[in-house]
Amino acid sequence: MLGAGAATPEKVLHLELSAAETGFDPVMTSDLNTASIEQQLFESLLTYDYLARPVKLIPRLAAAMPTVTDQGRTWVFGLKRGVYFSPDPVFKGQKREVTAQDVVYTLMRFMDPKNRSPYKFLVEGRIMGLDELGEAARSIGHFNYDAKIPGLEVLDRYTLKIRLKTTDYNFSHAMAQPMYGIVAREVIEGYAGDTASHPVGTGPYRLARWTRSSLMVLERNPNFRHEIWDFDPGSDPESQRIVAQMRGKTIPQIDRVEIQVIEESQSAWLSFGKGELDMIGLAGQFAPIALHGARLKPALAQRGIRLDRISDPSIAYYFINQQDPQLGGMSKERIALRRAIFMAQNDEEMIRVIHKGQAVRNAYPIPEGVAGADPGYRSLLDFNPGEANLLLDRMGYAKGADGYRRQPDGSPLAVRYTSSLSSQDRELDEMMKKALDRLSIRFESEKLKFPEILKAERQCRVQIRLSAWIADYPDGDNFMQLWYGPHTHENNGSCYQDPVWDRLYEKSLTMPDSPERDAIYHQLARLLELNGVTKVSTTHIRNVLFQPWVIGFKAHPILPSVWSLLDIDVNRVPQP
């Protein structure tokens, strides 16, 4: 793999994606796989510090953190100077600098109905005048990018003032998403209709080769500014080691990143074992080959392979549709039935058998590492089939002649569990069947393709499902909004509409992360349990394995990729 005549060998990082990318126009991106690549191609105004935990926002394209005034309603961003887009024929050989106008254009694109952006919710309803532009575009058929709106005001070439409709302390997190990477108008318009295959950003890499849904090759962006690796390690010894190896190096150190789509986890794991891949996110079901509990197995450790593991900022939670004719409603019987179903779920067994120990019991809607989390929270709905059965007995769910319980009014009872066609979900079916067996409730399985599950959920047609949510940004609100009444038909799959709950939630929105907000969050979480709406079950552990020659890696809970911050020890790379 030596470059022709090069004195130093090229540093190449080989990676895998477990599902195909969709295309590299950030405004149209919805999946983390694609975002992980866009993180390297484009730059947002802000980003997260590589090593700081809990995660901390730092400037990326912005010269400094924004000045926030007017109780979180006015934000002024100053841009770094001398930041250039990667070369592209559209620029006709000129170097194209990033200006405040580009930020305005980038933000406007999210409300353009033509782009049908999956991540527009982060700015929707927030910036003054922007939603109205989107509305207008729907009626007149095109989006007026030249409009001047009060919410987005260019103060000078490098300074932008954003005015929000209401107080919003999470706006800065939106500006750190890879989907909000800054693009140039002439590129988007020059490649209209095909923007997904012409990513032109300011990131450390650019897309050099792309075989769709198979291979992506990133190479250094020749226009990338001079940037030095400099992060503060804090007290973590591993971070200190990384800093000792990396501090002072220019970014990026790795010349090329090759990313291959490998859908079958057996193939990915075997590739890593042979050294064809430099890093791999260990699929849960393969954990026993590589890990002994939380540690790497000796055979792998001896080969110099290393492990970094963090708790994912995600939750897996059961919810029951509150509007379901059979399970929904606020009568005591129904509440008891739902709580009994939740109490029959054996989380310990799920962690041990399905996740092979690579998950932890987490009963709180906000996972560790996200503002507002409470690892000490105790659930009312822990596994307790004995009490669940007693509760059902007492509420009149008597067993019929066939041994299965019936409704208190004597009509038959069956619970329909909705899941996808994947083999992982088949294991979860087994868990749910066992749970319902413990209660002598008849189990029905509904297998749907993922798009159909979403549709059924949004139309409040699902009875019970195990769903998952991963943080878009590390704030509790990103999780609590999952049960907000007005989000029914959006992502409140439980279709829970409770004025008491909604009122409390709305109150939390006006507060920054604080003990007062935490107190409200605790009430919200407890209400979800008391009313039998949801049982938060587990949080996954992310295990990343990397080869001995990969330097500087530390898993980050929010950043989808950190490749530009790594290095490769070429002397340790095995020569073919």
């Binding site: 986890s265 057996q266 794991w269 075997l270 079901q285 393969f286 026993p288 080959i289 002994h292 606020m330 005591k332 509440i335 008891a336 709580r339 054996n346 310990e348 067994e349 041990r352 058998v353 092979k356 120990g357 105790r378 659930s379 009312l380 822990d382 596994f383 307790n384 089939p385 004995g386 009490e387 007693l390 509760l391 007492r394 509420m395 996808s420 066609l421 994947s422 083999s423 088949r426 294991e427 079916d429 087994e430 069947k433 189990f443 399985s445 509904e446 297998k447 107190a519 605790h522 009430q523 407890r526 209400l527 008391l530 009313n531």
Partner: protein, 345 residues
């Protein structure tokens, strides 16, 4: 079948049986298939493998001959239950407070949920839940073979009736059915499967049978149609017509027995094909539901177990299936030889 077989062709079957008896490979295959069918019958009657859902072994219990190879996740569930202290309600009211208080008053103290002790090894090992793989293979045979048989009967029935109608009546009926045949064979199999699966929606074994049956009739149709085209102008059919036999009678009483060898061989081929297809359908997520076990579902489950070193489920299901399919294919060959001695293959 025998009711539809008129006297003269009984000789064909006797002769075929004698020829089959002389075929040693064929007879061996017949015995093997017979054994499997016996197992299916026993499982169907509920005499064996009824309790495959019981978790008798520890997780990934190894086969007895390698009993030392214990898995680290293998421990029975043991969970502390009941509150070990009051859980704060943050000033909220529990709607079930009264009921829970009454229950706890009658059943005081924390409970401990423990499972029955499990075996450390099993004859052919256990799966990730601790189900006995041997029992699963037996129960899986029942499902896979029944699915294969019923779907093959369905496909053969469809193909035969349509082939008979097309071949016998000809003209627009033939055109219409041929058109249908053309459409079904032109659509890629995979997409046809997805489409039919989507239409059926309903999950379960019936869906699987229908998917296989509705996509598998074309081969039978082609051959049966050709046979009917050949036979409908034969003297014995014309004679029957002259004596006033109805079309249906001529089609199904007179001609059918003379094409039965073709149909039987096709049926047998379909059984083999469908048993193999079930594996692929399981891989795609269209297999049996979770409360049913089949070879396909086992192989699909075991897909990731090989590199974990838990090869026994993959091996058990794979071998059980390979033996049956081999025997069935050989039986099909032997049947063909026996039924149609003019053929030299």
């Amino acid at each position: 079948m025998s009711a539809m077989t008129p006297e003269p062709s009984a000789g064909l079957w006797t002769l075929a049986w004698r020829r089959l008896q002389r075929d040693r490979v064929g007879m061996t295959a017949l015995i093997v298939v017979g054994c499997y069918l016996l197992v299916v019958l026993l499982a169907l009657m509920g005499w064996v493998a009824t309790d495959w859902t019981r978790e008798v072994g520890v997780n990934y219990a190894p086969p007895v001959f390698m009993a030392d190879d214990q898995d680290e996740t293998a421990q029975p569930s043991r969970v502390e239950q009941g509150p070990s202290g009051p859980i704060p309600l943050y000033g909220l009211q529990d709607p079930l407070a009264a009921e829970l208080a009454a229950i706890r008053a009658r059943h005081p103290g924390a409970q401990v949920f423990t499972e029955a002790p499990r075996r450390l090894s099993l004859p052919l090992g256990g799966d990730k839940w601790g189900h006995d793989v041997l029992t699963k293979v037996i129960k899986g045979s029942e499902t896979s073979i029944l699915v294969g048989l019923v779907a093959a009967v369905l496909a053969t029935l469809l193909g035969t009736v349509m082939g008979a109608v097309a071949g016998y009546f000809g003209r627009w009926m033939d055109d219409a059915l041929n058109w249908l045949y053309g459409v079904f064979t032109a659509i890629p199999y995979l997409l046809l499967v997805f489409a039919i699966a989507a239409v059926l929606q309903q999950k379960g074994v019936v869906t699987l049978v229908l998917i296989l049956g509705l996509t598998g009739w074309t081969g039978v149709f082609r051959l049966v149609r050709a046979e009917y085209l050949k036979h409908k102008t034969r003297e014995y059919v014309l004679a029957a017509g002259a004596m006033g036999a109805s079309h249906a009678r001529r089609m199904f009483i007179h001609i059918l027995p003379n094409t039965s060898h073709v149909i039987l061989v096709q049926l047998s081929q379909n059984v083999v094909g469908f048993i193999k297809s079930e594996v692929i359908l399981s891989f795609l997520g269209f297999g049996v539901p979770v409360d049913v076990v089949s070879w396909g579902s086992m192989l699909n489950e075991a897909q990731n177990e090989l590199i974990l070193g838990k090869w026994w489920q993959l091996a058990a299901a794979g071998v059980a299936m390979a033996i049956l399919v081999t025997a069935f294919s050989m039986l099909t060959d032997a049947l063909r030889d026996a039924l149609d001695p003019k053929l030299r293959y």
